[in-house]
Symmetry: none
Subunit: 194 residues, 4 copies
DNA sequence: CATGAATGAGTGTTCATTCAT
DNA sequence: GATGAATGAACACTCATTCAT
């Protein structure tokens, strides 16, 4: 059991190092040897935990994506109203993107790059299902615009990625009131006009 | 006559090959030798036109970014009303992202990756000025919400990138009416509520 | 047991190969790949033992220079008389240059070429100190001409390099009596005239 | 005729550039393109004057060697006595090595390196004949020690190369009186003892 | 005669991965 | 399970040389 624990620590250290190095240098400038060094293991050890570099990056992506959606839906409950549920989820996502900025940036890089296998990408998308279900319910109830989910995502959730990147680059500072403005824009872009 | 000067055709072929290969394989899996082969020149020839791989990618980025903004503002005129001007620019941008999808994807990859020099990134941003000016005018006239330009961009322009990627991945098909919906969402997210 | 540490044997094989190839072809025509092949290792292995090609050559130079001076002073003892000491050292140097001709030629090439870092050159010179000390003693005792050490070296030691090169090129054959003549010339060029 | 003149200027510029660059950087770090740039011609032009890089270096060597010996024997006359002749030649050589230090260093580099063809090396040696003749005469007259010419050269002429290098490296300064000492050492190392 | 553009072959070096211990 | 040493296959880049003009 002690051995198993130790192993999980090493796996986590490798995933962590991968995120940090890929974030700062990009996939193309992140050799396995640097990942090993940062995780304080031998390069050969990586191959005890992952098949190869592609697998390491894929698994890191899935890990971070799962963490992201877990965070997003942590307090959400399907019994909530559509509007309350959306607000809850939106604000958790905003929270994640601003607080776990490193992880959010890693996802942004993966999502705009052919660096992840298509299979792992699909795997990552799965976990977003509760939000899609919420939207479907909202459409049935006539509260959400009858648009494709991708369109709803594009206008209500995706802008947060851009705002996060802008803040990271120092060209924008998001305070509480601006975040509230952002939420209002998000909600009004998908809610059914009365 | 044709051979007395470095040929602009070769430079363009190299830029074109770079876009295509980086789009399909990512920066890290795009060796100079493949770029050369696709552009039908010797690897050594690349170095007559570009200092090194980084310079090639930087210049490609700036080229594409300029093409993008040129396209966006081609029919725009500062004498237009704020609303008409925005609609004009938005639709041109949408046009570009859907028709010149390869180029738009290249920009998306560059913008979410440490693959471009900060200097070149700055250079690329410059050309967006007319849109920012339009927004400033709109704010003064009380037509546009008094939000930071980055926020306006996040909600009205950036969603197009996500839609473009979704269409490219085949999970979404954008017809004229959906595009009109998208425009309405964009405009309503930044226009001043009455 | 043998493989737990970087093997000194491999390092030595690389140094040996460097000497042989640089001697025969010159630095400019000695690629790392050939050095690797001659040392029976992979090109990549060189970089486990040396930082880069320059470092490999620098270290080879220092190694050979140290071997040279160790050989020169092996039997020398500061308690010897100036004349006996000089004869001992001179003959050891002559021995080295004629028997370890490959190594002596490598030094000659390095010493007349900008192929070695200035720092490594300085490092190589250090080990000659006992001879300089002997000369200083000889000057104080009125046995050696009161000339700069570089001048003493030029006339008593350096000619051996030329003789060695000449023999290597086959234009001269040095037998014992000629070597004795050479020693007499060397000694008479630095000893104080009565 | 004007054209011919122009051509000789270009050839000379190329030879000059070769000397300077090989002296400062070594053969291995002296690309044709740099030689062309320093001589202010196109790389292709070099091949109008020389067959290839090897030929350029060979011819440069022969040129400099000829200049060296011309200088050495300029005032020498076979009717001079052996001793006067030797002094004359020695001092001209010393002069050359100290004043045309760049050229002398180039020769030193060539002579200790496999960078010159054997054929060109032979060609360069030819011009030294007058000195060898003088020595033969001296031996017959019982004025010069009956040693091989290479040995005479090693002790009386070659030390000048070492002194020149030392001065160039700044570790030695040769004034007139030291030069006179050097000459005395040279002469006494080859003259017949009474 | 002179050139700048072009290039194929080759260079030093790196890297994902394997292996002996 | 864990490692440091080792490596073949690549990579970015350079260079001596050629060629069309």
């Amino acid at each position: 059991m002690a051995k198993l624990q130790k192993s999980i620590d090493k796996r986590n250290a490798l995933v962590k190092a991968t995120i940090e190095l890929v974030n700062n240098n990009g996939f193309h400038a992140t050799p396995m040897s640097k990942i090993a060094k940062m995780a304080k293991v031998s390069p050969a050890t990586i191959y005890l935990y992952f098949e190869n570099k592609q697998d390491l990056v894929n698994q890191t992506y899935i890990d971070v994506k799962a963490e992201y959606t877990n965070y997003a839906f942590a307090n959400y409950d399907e019994s909530m109203s559509v509007e309350a549920g959306f607000e809850m989820i939106w604000k958790r996502i905003a929270d994640f993107k601003l607080k776990e900025c490193e992880h959010a940036m890693f996802l942004a890089q993966c999502d705009n790059t052919p660096m992840i296998d298509e299979e792992s990408r699909q795997e990552g998308i799965k976990h977003l299902q509760p939000l899609l279900d919420l939207w479907e319910r909202g459409k049935k109830e006539g509260i959400i615009k009858p648009m494709a989910n991708y369109m709803l995502y594009a206008y209500s959730i995706n802008p947060l990625s851009f705002l996060m990147m802008s803040e990271k680059r120092g060209v924008l500072k998001l305070d509480a009131s601006q975040l509230e403005d952002a939420y209002q824009s998000a909600w009004s872009s998908i809610k059914m006009c009365k």
